[in-house]
Symmetry: C2
Subunit: 380 residues, 2 copies
């Protein structure tokens, strides 16, 4: 039976057909007037997605590469940062201090929880911090925070920079770099921005740019000062993944056409529908403050990760993610970002119903998708 491939991992996510076709076009050179025009348009569209008037730098590399560019460009060796540690990605950023001579104080929280503005405010009161590092949407636990409120309190602590991993928030749900007063934000191409992996993006506030100018950290490929110099001429300091950049334009134009508010609304609508659906099936969410970009669901007793995800894959050609690290086997994760619509959301829910039933779990077929449908109706 024909069963279309449906990718529901929280990155890489599906890429629009128009963008894929762009990737199949003959390769051109990047030191041309045409490419500079492309790169200039990319810049404007990235600013729109980040909701900023600041420059957004393009790094050829993964989201981790973007984080490294941000971290090593603005955080000085010997300084102290506060890292909110509440998941696998937050743990990765905490380990950056060790590699780059930065003292990292951690605000540790159980998986599935996130810091409040009050907690961050209280921790910062001890003083001496150069920056706060946090993950806006911790992909490993599908957990978000009130970033606007957090930014507000960080702003009250002088020159403390707010460094935000927005890899699975920017372009998925509300994120306003300028209005909220974020200092550093990063994302990757393979999440909400509807492209394969290979590009990372970094935005710096004027305060972060000032910190960068004074910083003595050792870097080269990740030295954003080099990117800043090049971007004045709509260029990059090192050979960029130019076919990905050209294709990124196609996807970002789609976001512009839908409007960023429209994209946020759709993603939030799908997430709300999916959460309502799995709850109606008697399943529990893992996160105490769920992100709208990805949902983590606890396995009910008697259902193993292997059986569940294998059945979804084999019977339904649907790929959802499992848990990472110690969460492996205890949760599955479903993406709502990027090139996915409400009927994709219904499809994955329907497949989950059928899979649970096949694996011997008593489910009322249609209960999940009906509950989701109630939520989806709010979008019309």
């Amino acid at each position: 039976m024909l069963m279309k491939y449906r990718l529901f991992t929280p990155g890489p996510t599906s890429v629009p057909e128009a963008t894929l076709l762009q990737l199949a076009k003959p390769v051109t050179h990047h030191r041309t007037a045409e490419f500079r025009k492309t790169f200039a348009e990319l810049q404007e569209l990235l600013k729109y997605v980040f909701q900023t008037q600041q420059t957004v730098y393009t790094i050829t590399g993964s989201g981790t590469a973007a984080f490294e560019a941000a971290f090593t460009s603005v955080v000085s060796p010997g300084s102290k940062v506060l890292n909110v540690t509440n998941g696998k990605f937050a743990e990765r950023w905490a380990s950056y201090g060790k590699a780059f001579g930065v003292q990292v104080e951690e605000l540790k929280l159980p998986y599935g929880q996130h810091a409040t503005a009050e907690q961050i405010n209280n921790t910062l009161k001890s003083g001496g911090f150069a920056a706060v590092v946090l993950v806006h949407s911790e992909t490993s636990t599908a957990t978000t925070c009130d970033l606007q409120a957090i930014a507000k309190v960080v702003r009250q602590h002088g020159d403390v920079l707010l460094i935000v991993d927005g890899i699975t928030s920017i372009g998925a749900f509300p994120f306003k770099f300028d209005d909220w007063g974020i200092d550093v934000a990063i994302t990757g191409s393979q999440k909400s921005l509807m492209l394969p992996p290979g590009l990372g993006y970094v935005c710096l506030s004027p305060r972060a740019e000032a910190a960068m100018e004074k910083n003595k950290q050792s870097n080269f490929y990740f030295d954003l000062k080099k990117y800043k110099k090049s971007i004045a001429d709509s260029d990059t300091p090192f050979t960029p993944a130019n076919t990905l950049i050209e294709a990124q334009l196609t996807s970002l134009r789609m976001i512009k056409q839908e409007t960023i508010e429209g994209v946020w609304r759709r993603t939030q609508g799908c997430a709300a529908a999916f959460r309502a659906g799995v709850k109606a099936l008697g399943l529990e969410l893992f996160s105490q403050t769920p992100a709208d970009s990805v949902t983590a669901v606890k396995y009910p007793s008697g259902i193993t990760d292997k059986d569940f995800r294998n059945t979804l894959k084999k019977d339904h050609n649907i790929h959802v993610a499992g848990g990472q690290g110690t969460m492996e086997g205890t949760i599955f994760r479903v993406n709502h970002m990027g090139y996915t619509d409400i009927y994709d959301c219904l499809a994955v829910l329907a497949a989950i119903e059928l899979t649970l039933k096949k694996l011997g779990k008593p489910v009322q077929l249609g209960a999940g998708i009906s509950a989701a449908q109630q939520e989806l109706s709010k979008l019309f």
Copy 2:
């Protein structure tokens, strides 16, 4: 008049249609058995191209990213390296010392020249070097060296590592990592390996791996120890540009089918034909030891870079590269690497003849392509 687009810049180079179509396939996730199989095959094919039994690491990033991974993983802060500085890329690698606390002694040569084994041997005699860094094929000047002879003398200096930028040599003309005793070699995806930019590759000898284990340099995204750990499971430590990796397989299988010796022979044949052609037109080569991957040609008096390359582009839809830095306006460069055959070589020569004539240079039409044809006949 229909005029097909022909890309002759020394990277990005043309990508085979089959590879482009692979890039247009729907995106899948990379933490799967299928992708691990792909990645394992990539590994075998890269070993074939590098002519090694050692592991070849895949970095999502440009060739500079691959160099940084190599340099920061094996060269310790405080140590001294000998950098052969004879072009724009060699100059870039010389500047790495400053960023990473490494003392760089330079063997400086005029553009268009390269170091001999004797020069390197003499310089190393002063002692205390941890490594020699050189560019096998300096793309900015289209100049190569006798790497096999150089490797032989470096081997006589104890633990001195030989770090080779093979970005425009590996997969273009003879390069034998194991047989020649190279310690570190890097290349990028967008040159001989027939893929768009976005992936870099690094190979380490057992001696280089041992140096890496002892090294205390600060790195993270570029820490090859992390890649070594992951590759045991055919995986990468950070999200790879997985669609590029899948497409790389298509291009590398083509190289395997042609055989690496066949690829070298074709590239060398095209380069020899092109050099014979431009000489027959009265033009001069820039390099004293020309590389077979790219040819740099001096502009004759009265021909400006702007007129020449604009005419090639507008009349013939052919894109060749100009000179970089102080060489700008004095040379043009034509690629022979990757997805390009003998008739592409004839086409660019024919277009150069027509362009020179149009710009008022007295040329005997057909003289260049006839001379090239003599060389090409040796391939049959």
